[in-house]
Subunit: 356 residues, 2 copies
């Protein structure tokens, strides 16, 4: 690439925040819904409906017309949905939920990315919420963060979990531990998708999650098959399980901590015990432009969710599992073609067995 | 475009803020400077130099390697500047200044874009600075906003003013009024580039700018040829001038206010009097993908600088000048090829004469 090409690429980066909020604001104001309900509205009519000046509506819609999302008829001054009309409303709701999550959880917080990297702490959460800790802790007490985060996590889980359970082996009657299983959703999915006589699934997480977790088990009618153990992954992992699941967790940590988790899991298992991991991964070819995991996650983990951590390549996780004493039995990246076109993370499944 | 293509385009928008700050943080931490000084550093070495963990350095550099800005040697773990090595340092400084401006003036403030559009006020400035007013007022009292803003404005002025003065006619001995001329820089440029026997240039702006303006005139040795008149453009514009300049100003207002300014200028001039305008414009073809004015300015004016306003197409400004009683004599857009490849606004010159 020439110097000129490099700087032109910088320009794409420079308009990133502006483009993002210009588009999202059109949804937040209700302009898109209004145009779906009444195609052919003018800026003045839209302004009345959404509570903005016609001039502001015009300014905001320039970008959407440029992109072909919305069409503008110069003669009548009327706007209609263009390519946006073709996107099913449910998909559009999914993408707008994700954009709202990005706005709330990242946009302001990223202002402090440099300071967060220097300190290993989430300076943005401290500045905007007076909160010391991780996003996941903040989500529990700050509803304005917790709600958008849950919506996106639940949508991702609903999409990915079936694929995960279709691809892992849970022997009949196995004793399964869902590591860092939060409030039990993973355990419930495990029981429902892998049910067999005698199957028992245990959620392992911080003691303060116990109450919500047991409530969830009762509400899903699995309380006879699922249980909860309180503890901290970095202290010790309970023994007596045949299968350990680690979903949406190891990407939150740097190498030393991931190795520690793997080693503790290894120690907790008998020979022949299995671990199944679900985790977003970076592509083996970092320059793969169809993959957006690299575009989103480094700043997300460093500046918005943990202050450290971040995904790795599948080959790296595989080597860390081996370093911790496991024999890797499968390593499957999700086919990006099976994800919605707006999905940012590409997940993978890693399975491994304790062999000695 | 298919629904799939539309949603894939949304994904580009969704990673916009993350990409922007990931890249800027690499500059802020000093990673790029370190690699320029010592090519071939590992993440561990870089981490020591910039004060970050090796894991965080690795995470941040994934994106720069993906883009080809930086190269990574898998075998040695060493990073070197790749395409970034080819960009002259002065240009890189210009683009990083602009990115810093975008971070400080827009990134957090855009969180409140929807509320700003609904109220016509800069909610972001109020939330982050407790400031009621415009960016230009805030820049005067908040150095952390004012400094990055001045750097970008001065660089833009230095680039654009020579082109402006090369293309406008200032008759020998003319009396020139620089409307909303701030602290005199435009008047100084006018005198220096258009000097003729008897030429007088007057800066017209709010009375509180007088002191700084006169100081600038003295420092540039033009105090015998330049003067200051205090007042408000929307009250009345002083009479007795042959030429009125309006630079970097009308894009700040919506149509009604721009028309009011044009009409007041028209009333202040004798028949034959001229107005020369410098303003960023949107392209006539809104779908012109090489033009980034539309990507940046709507949310900038609505959410970060005024709470209203924003550029228009050249043809729109032309028609508004005619509506205010002027005969347009020239309307020249800047050739984007003459701008640095990272420049966001494309400027235009409009000249008009009072004919009746």
């Amino acid at each position: 690439m020439t110097a000129e090409g490099t700087l032109a690429r910088f320009r794409e980066y420079m308009v990133g925040p502006a483009r993002f909020m210009n588009l999202l604001t059109c949804f937040e104001l209700g302009i898109i819904d209004a145009l779906r309900a009444n195609p052919g509205m003018t800026a003045a009519e839209l302004g009345t409906v959404v509570g903005a000046t016609p001039a502001a509506v015009e300014q905001l819609l320039f970008l959407l017309v440029k992109e072909g999302f919305v069409a503008y008829d110069e003669a009548s001054g009327a706007y209609t949905l263009d390519t946006l009309a073709e996107v099913p409303e449910a998909e559009l709701k999914g993408v707008v939920d994700f954009m709202h999550f990005i706005k709330v959880v990242t946009l302001r917080q990223l202002f402090y990315l440099t300071e967060s990297v220097r300190t290993g702490k989430l300076v943005g959460l401290r500045e905007f919420y007076g909160f010391e800790g991780t996003l996941y802790e903040a989500a529990a007490t700050h509803k304005d963060i917790g709600d958008p985060w849950s919506r996106v996590m639940n949508a991702t889980t609903a999409r990915i979990d079936p694929w995960f359970f279709d691809n892992i082996d849970v022997p009949s009657g196995a004793r399964v531990l869902d590591l860092a299983g939060n409030t039990g959703l993973g355990a419930i999915h495990t029981y429902k998708r892998k049910a067999s006589p005698g199957l028992r699934v245990t959620t392992f997480d911080l003691p303060e999650r116990e109450e919500d977790c047991l409530k969830n088990f009762r509400e899903h009618g699995v309380e006879e098959h699922c249980s909860f153990i309180g503890g901290n992954v970095f202290d010790s992992i309970p023994k007596g399980f045949d299968v350990v699941l680690i979903k949406h967790f190891i990407d939150m940590w740097d190498k030393d901590d991931v190795l520690k988790i793997f080693e503790c899991v290894n120690q907790s298992l008998e020979v022949g015990g299995q671990v199944h991991i679900l985790v977003p991964i970076y592509p083996e070819n970092v320059k793969d432009t169809d993959n957006y995991t690299i575009d989103f996650f480094p700043s997300f983990f460093l500046g918005c969710s943990m202050g450290y951590g971040g995904p790795q390549k599948l080959s790296v996780y595989r080597s860390w599992l081996e370093e911790a004493g496991f024999t890797v039995t499968q390593a499957i990246p999700k086919d990006p073609a099976d994800l919605p076109p707006y999905a940012l993370p590409v997940q993978a499944i890693l399975s491994a067995t304790k062999t000695a």
